[in-house]
């Protein structure tokens, strides 16, 4: 009996404390927290061929206890920028780090006023994150500037019913930096006629760089009975700042019949980001779940336009009120 009680006591003592790694609340501890969280959770090391241990040791040598918060922040931000991921940020009380090269090294390819003034004549409707109107070529035009906010079923019905007699639809998501996948999903369902495989998700199953789940297919259902479904030609206008949920929108729409992607390569950002807080109250955001398209291809580095529909905004033509990308999109749905 005594042995049994002793065994139970030790079993309880061993099991009662599941270990949680703790970090010191100083510069080195904060840096180690950033490095470790990325090491254990980030999902694109392999795709981007990043040696995270080497990267960490390179920046770790610049960190010492007693250094200023600003200098520590810069060291951490520099290390994070090597992930080349627009979803990775470090936020503190005085700054948020941001990797900008994914869009800053490319032409912007978008001028909102150009469309509003010369194509819509400032005669358009605005509804939440959307402006919409009918172009002179009898083509419906929707600009969805962010998927941070969505539209209700009734809102989308109103827009599509306005366009019901149009010959095609242009969805302009240039400069749409993403937002909620469910807001994009609500709109995508208006273009589906049946349950459709829209992609695969792969998540981390452990802290190792190779610990991933099998790609898990996910499907979207068509919109409900009282929702208008659009089955005429669609052109989606994209630029390098089409990112994250907007990139995901493109990755799904491009495989639907009658849909063409027009413009420039998207910005990517197919990792779903999560956030973790750090010893100083700083917050780290990073990609942990990779979304693949319906054919199993990664889209983290962006999606090319449909073959034959790649086009940039001609800055000279823009001076005379011409959006060469929009013109190409109009042609795509009317030709």
């Amino acid at each position: 009996m005594k042995n049994i009680l002793t065994a139970i006591f030790f079993a309880l003592a061993l099991c009662s404390c599941h270990h949680i790694e703790e970090f010191d609340n100083n510069a080195e501890g904060s840096f180690d927290a950033v490095w470790t969280i990325v090491d254990e959770h980030y999902c694109f090391f392999k795709e981007k061929d990043i040696d995270w241990r080497e990267t960490g040791s390179r920046y770790r040598s610049r960190v010492y206890n007693g250094m200023s918060s600003e200098n520590l922040f810069d060291a951490c931000a520099g290390m994070l920028s090597e992930l080349r991921d627009g979803h990775v940020n470090l936020s503190s009380g005085f700054a948020t780090s941001y990797y900008r090269d994914w869009w800053s090294k490319y032409p912007q390819n978008f001028d909102a006023r150009l469309v509003e003034q010369y194509y819509l004549g400032f005669n358009y409707r605005q509804l939440g994150p959307v402006i919409y109107g009918i172009l002179p070529q009898n083509v419906g035009y929707i600009r969805w500037s962010s998927f941070e906010s969505g539209l209700g079923d009734g809102n989308i019905n109103n827009i599509l019913s306005d366009f019901w007699l149009c010959s095609g639809l242009i969805i302009d998501i240039r400069d749409n930096g993403g937002g909620s996948l469910t807001n994009a999903e609500d709109f995508i369902r208006r273009f589906l006629s049946e349950r459709t495989l829209v992609g695969y998700m792969v998540h981390k199953t452990g802290p190792g760089h190779d610990d991933f789940s099998k790609p898990w297919p996910y499907y979207y259902e068509p919109a409900g009975a009282n929702c208008l479904i659009w089955n005429k030609p669609v052109a989606i206008l994209t630029n390098r700042s089409t990112f994250s949920a907007a990139n995901n929108f493109v990755s799904i729409m491009r495989y639907l019949p009658g849909v063409k992607i027009v413009g420039a390569r998207t910005g990517g950002g197919s990792g779903m980001p999560v956030q973790f807080d750090l010893p100083r109250g700083w917050v780290l955001r990073l990609s942990t779940v990779s979304i693949l398209d319906a054919q199993g291809h990664p889209t983290e580095s962006g999606i090319e336009p449909t073959e034959g529909y790649a086009v940039d905004l001609d800055p000279v033509a823009a001076l005379s009120g011409t959006d060469t990308m929009l013109d190409r999109a109009i042609a795509a749905v009317t030709e």
Partner: protein, 298 residues
């Protein structure tokens, strides 16, 4: 001769029949009498109901949400019900516990709040032993259901973490009834320790959005001391004032889980105050009702 023999047999069978009939009657009367005796002597089994409120400290950690440890305030309400069991009231008691709690905690830098809300229900039976000098003790199994959610007030795709478990627990108590400074009291320590069951946990990097879309595999994990350790300690003193008692207690709760390389921890310390009452429900027509003069206000 044959007629004589037949008459003798008939008489003998009548005697035997009468004897048997009398015995059956007596037996039936005895059984009925015993049944009445048992019914009349069936003990009353009052229900001890306790309502408490508690407040104290909370220590939370959930590596799905954050690597940091959060500390703050814990508050809770609970109801417990103890009653001797009908089948062997001297030795077996049942216990029902219902509880709800909330925690408001901050990270070490005090910049982010982590909220925890949970409910808990358990029902169990305990074999009890009456010991000398007012002491008693008991132990037994219980079925425990625990559910809750952690919410952290920052954006991202991991703002919340759900908690759910169904476990079979070992529950135990030790108790002393006596008096101190002339006040009758009951000092009691009770504990509940889940032994086996199942609990919910997402995969290491799995998002709740994936679960929403239909990814449901690997969410339920076996609970044992290596993966799900929980201990609920309650030390209480009931000061008896007539039919009502004042309960003063210290309540400590420990939960530590590990599944899919995710660790959660929830430790609370709380002081609680409550009221305990003993009550008896009377069934109309029962012996207890017949034997009493009852004036209802209803």
């Amino acid at each position: 001769m044959a007629k004589k023999i037949s008459r003798l047999i008939n008489r003998a069978s009548c005697i035997v029949h009468r004897a048997l009939t009398n015995r059956a009657l007596i037996s039936a009367l005895c059984i009925a009498h015993c049944a009445l005796c048992i019914r009349a002597e069936e003990p009353l089994r009052p229900v001890s109901s306790t309502y408490t409120v508690e407040i104290g400290s909370a220590h939370l950690a959930d590596t799905y949400l954050s690597p940091m440890h959060y500390t703050g305030i814990h508050a809770g309400l609970s109801y417990s019900r103890l009653q001797a069991m009908r089948f062997d009231p001297e030795r077996w008691v049942m216990q029902l516990r219902l509880g709800a709690s909330v925690d408001f905690t901050k990270n070490p830098a005090k910049t982010i709040t982590l909220y925890n809300a949970g409910i808990d229900a358990s029902w169990g039976m305990m074999r009890r032993w009456t010991l000398p000098a007012g002491f008693s003790a008991g132990i037994g199994p219980a079925l425990d259901i625990d559910a809750g959610v952690l919410y952290i007030d920052r954006s991202g795709n991991n703002p919340a973490s759900a908690r759910a478990a169904v476990t079979v627990d070992a529950s135990a108590f030790a108790q002393w009834r006596g008096s101190l400074l002339g006040i009758p009291l009951t000092a009691r320590y009770s504990a509940m320790l889940p032994v086996a069951g199942v609990f919910f946990s997402p995969d290491y990097g799995e998002l709740y959005y994936q679960i929403y879309l239909g990814y449901r595999s690997g969410l339920v994990h076996p609970a044992w001391w290596g993966s799900y350790f929980s201990l609920d300690n309650l030390a209480s003193v009931d000061l008896h004032f007539g039919a009502t008692s004042l309960r003063l207690a210290y309540h400590n709760y420990i939960l530590s889980t590990k599944a899919s390389n995710l660790v959660t921890r929830n430790v609370t310390h709380a002081l609680s105050i409550g009221i305990t009452t003993d009550w008896i429900s009377l069934r109309p027509g029962s012996d207890a009702v017949k034997a009493s003069r009852i004036i209802s206000a209803y």
